[in-house]
Symmetry: D2
Subunit: 337 residues, 4 copies
């Protein structure tokens, strides 16, 4: 089969590195262009672990060059920077998987929680890249908004139960993330001594992934649930655990509901025991466990925040957009132990 040329824009961060790691082992994608905002370096200088493995030159990001070299581009840029670049690429007929928040939300919500939107036109056609839900739309999309890490794991856990939920009751989501989710930039918060032997909530009830979760649950269910989302930082590099607390109107068999819902989903695993983050770290899996007491349901979902929460999900989306089987080249073997 002919190789499909792809570009990575924004290669210096953790998600850029994960994209490189997946794509150099992918049987059908071929990385023909890598860029950062500054350029003038090599992949193995940005990421020393790549020495002797992948030493490709890294350019200053240029949309026209992308268009000459690749059919599809992964954007691992900060929000705002991403939409500027995506707009240009789409105009040059390059497909885009955007890992930023720029095309995830409806216009009003986006502008409320982020900034003015600079590519309203393409925003309308963007498809929310959660493959379990939007497979068919993703296949036809030329612009996919890759979901946030917290929304991916939260939505996958809650989705099967939406039809059974008490519409008056709020949904509580207690999220725990590894520090890589906060990016590579040094900060007091990310300092080893701040994180090690510690845990704390941040932006409780105010994190920008809360409206993303709420919007998607509303779009999927037709009901505007109250979503209360509290993220915590864990003394862990990689991994994300979501504990969701919901209430149903009637007694249900929660395990059966979950199992049926994901019977055809290759990247969701239903667990008999509470999930951990080590069993998904390194993979695109979302592991889910459910427990119940009367009408109160506890859902525990686990993903790798950099893979299922970003880069491997992006490649699943790219697979679908390019007519490949969604599983092609997607990591499924965990880093454990």
């Amino acid at each position: 089969m002919k190789k499909i040329n792809v570009a990575i824009i924004g290669a210096s961060g953790y998600t850029g590195l994960e994209l490189i790691k997946i794509l150099i082992q992918h049987p059908h994608f071929n990385i023909t262009y890598i860029a950062t905002t500054e350029g003038g370096t090599k992949a193995s200088e940005l990421h020393p672990a790549l020495l002797g493995v992948f030493e490709q030159e890294v350019f200053k990001a240029d949309a026209k060059e992308v268009a000459q070299k690749a059919e599809l581009a992964f954007l691992a840029l900060p929000h705002k920077a991403a939409m500027g670049f995506a707009k240009e690429l789409l105009g040059l007929h390059v497909k885009v998987v955007d890992l930023s928040a720029d095309y995830r939300l409806e216009l009003e919500a986006y502008e409320k929680h982020y900034c003015e939107h600079e590519d309203k036109e393409h925003l309308k056609e963007a498809v929310y890249g959660l493959p379990e839900i939007n497979t068919e739309k993703i296949k036809k999309a030329r612009l996919v908004a890759n979901p946030g890490c917290y929304p991916t794991a939260s939505i996958l856990g809650i989705l099967p139960f939406l039809a059974y939920l008490n519409k008056e009751a709020p949904i509580f989501i207690d999220a725990k993330s590894g520090v890589s989710g906060a990016g590579k930039k040094p900060s007091t918060t990310a300092h080893f001594v701040s994180i090690n032997e510690n845990i704390f909530a941040y932006n409780p009830l105010k994190h920008r992934h809360e409206p993303e979760i709420a919007e998607k649950l509303r779009l999927f269910s037709g009901h505007n649930f109250e979503v209360n989302f509290v993220p915590h930082l864990l003394p862990v590099s990689r991994g994300m655990l979501i504990s969701s607390y919901v209430q149903t109107t009637e007694m249900i068999d929660a395990k059966a509901v979950l199992t049926v819902f994901y019977a055809q989903s290759p990247f969701v695993r239903i667990r008999e025991n509470p999930v951990d983050i080590k069993s998904t770290a390194g993979t695109n899996f979302c592991d889910i466990f459910v427990s119940q007491k009367g009408k109160s349901i506890f859902i525990s979902s686990s993903i790798d925040n950099l893979l299922r929460g970003a880069s491997s999900q992006a490649v699943v989306n790219a697979n679908l957009m390019c007519g490949l089987d969604e599983r092609t080249g997607i990591p499924i073997i965990a880093y454990v132990p």
Copy 2:
């Protein structure tokens, strides 16, 4: 002031060590007897960090010897073993602070969740040793049941809001504990490789601290709230963070409610920012932060699971039982950084 002689029964575990650490610096208590189930060793052999600091002999636990040497005994024994020993000590007129679960619950609840109770007589007089609530009762008690670690932090967080809560809505408690809470005994769960870079729930909706929390909230409020409690194990040695999610009937000023409630409590600190576990590790403090969105309230409370969750709270109780100021000799300086 005359020294008060005290005994530690069950000195080999983490809470035994913490009792030693506090009591050797306490201005009025004097450790005159230390015991384990086996005896025949020294404190600095059980806990090598005590070499050159505290090398007292450790005996095979014997109630009569305790009675000869001490006025008050701390029992850091497993449940069931504790009540056998407490019964004997009380008969010999020794005051008891029991760190196990044996005297925490009403009879029926205890026997449902633990085992048959072997000291029903004293169970009736036991006082639940949460000093913020039961100060006066503790002062007169000769048997105090030291609260569990999860209940301590959960109850202290939720208590101020009980009067405002929607009685139909369940309370959700998402708890995170350091591994020392699971004890010193080697196990697959406590293996470094199982815990490091990992997090997972255990006994979700089934942990034995759930009925303890529910019972105390009922006794304090007069209403039988539905309590859903899910503990998680953190890759951390020491510390506990409790995220509680509750709903009020009316809009309240949660911060003000909290501040007023604890205005006179020397060991509760109200925080402007989300609490972390490092700021309480090494101390008897319970730090509490509250955030709200409409009628949904997020309460974040942090304690040192071995101190406020066990040993330092036990010494506060002992202080009260012996007519001392509750703050005497209680650690308030955190281990941070």
Copy 3:
């Protein structure tokens, strides 16, 4: 190309898991038999992360069944158990890569440091499976003794300098290992609370890998160097860093010596900056850095203790024994970040 059938004996530990992870992605090896001492389970029960990925049945180890199903067997058994099984397999014409210590040492040294040898006959033909040195011998071997983790990283670091070393001066090796090197079995030492926020030497100057290192350095150099080896346990799951301190007779250009020595070695990377363990974790690489001050040389080498120190090196050996390119199916992309 035709698939080569292989067996894994001893699949329950960490190295067994790593063998499975490599072999299910290997383009030419086909796992046809997996066993433990007890059998009667599935791979995904032994290692829950394999759920949905690899669920093959796990048998009670039986040499005859191995011989029917596989051409080559990986033995991930404890020493002593390994030689019993290897002897039987070799008699049935199955090639063996033994990950235990049983065939690593000369007879006398083995019996001094381990136990009586029960397969003296095959010991004579066993090849020490350090591919950088013994490539040609490994290609012809039917029994390869996979090196220990500490010896692999220590020898690879020191080897290039042997010809230049002061024969009167001792070699000092300060080794640091992740806890997975100590195995999966619960113990006080491996308890999270013992390891976390801690570091300590163990078996200093007495570890059984010391004679292995000394013997191999003697065999390669013809001189019996004094080797002083001190291993430490790190609060890390995976990874190994070796700091070797040696003295040369003359001033040399240490970096140049190193670079020339490994010019043709695909799995050794020479680093400009001190090596870390994250850049090799997940790979078969040995990264080496060297620094010098006069005739004193500091060599820092890093490997993944479970891969280059065990399972991936075992598969490199199997590749060579089966006529494949040594790089076939060997992991080179690190787990970082």
Copy 4:
């Protein structure tokens, strides 16, 4: 006894916090002045763990104010800033314990490894504050240079053996430090993801503590030993382990030498088993273990890098300078577990 007023200059970092923690519990010292470079804050804002414990105002550092309020000042400032301030304080008859490197080295060595010295006059009278060696000098000093963390643990380990060492053989020191030693300032190196699950050497054979160790060993022994020092960063917040490798001319009983040497030292503990860093974390102890093989000696020494390596050693020095018993108010109870 009358309280002695002391000042802390440089209260924002980790060592400043540790000074506060020790001094607020000290029976004879009274903190009357706290300052940072910027001032205008409170101790509990710099260090939130101090909320409700110690809320003293923090001023912009001013030498005249110090002189009015305190007899002795602890300087926890960066090198260069420290000597400017110390000079002024000494002129105002304030005793100084300087935690920086400014008065630790002889002039030539200082200027080679740091910068031009701006207080050459006082440099001559400064006493190196290692109490095990310089007790009498410290008692009479008005300026004490508090030793570096690595030198403290290295020198204490090697000192007892100096008389027995082979003068031709280099000393190798393999040091491992918790990240707090690198300070509070955010950096790529100190980022949680860089440190966690990792270890690496830094500045091997080039660290500025190497000449400090070499100079002190020369001054104590009269011989200029070759010292090769390689520090490593550990995934640990607090603690330091030093592995020293030395060679003697004759066979000695290393354990006996060590034991005799420190028979009168209240803050050195000789261990039967390899030392760990948890048993000294939180204390002023230096724990030492020694092992030998012929004339090769392995010395393992452990300290708390922030306490024995900085702040508690500074208070021991202040005790001596003020005529107090050196043990007064010095922490000896470890943070373990």
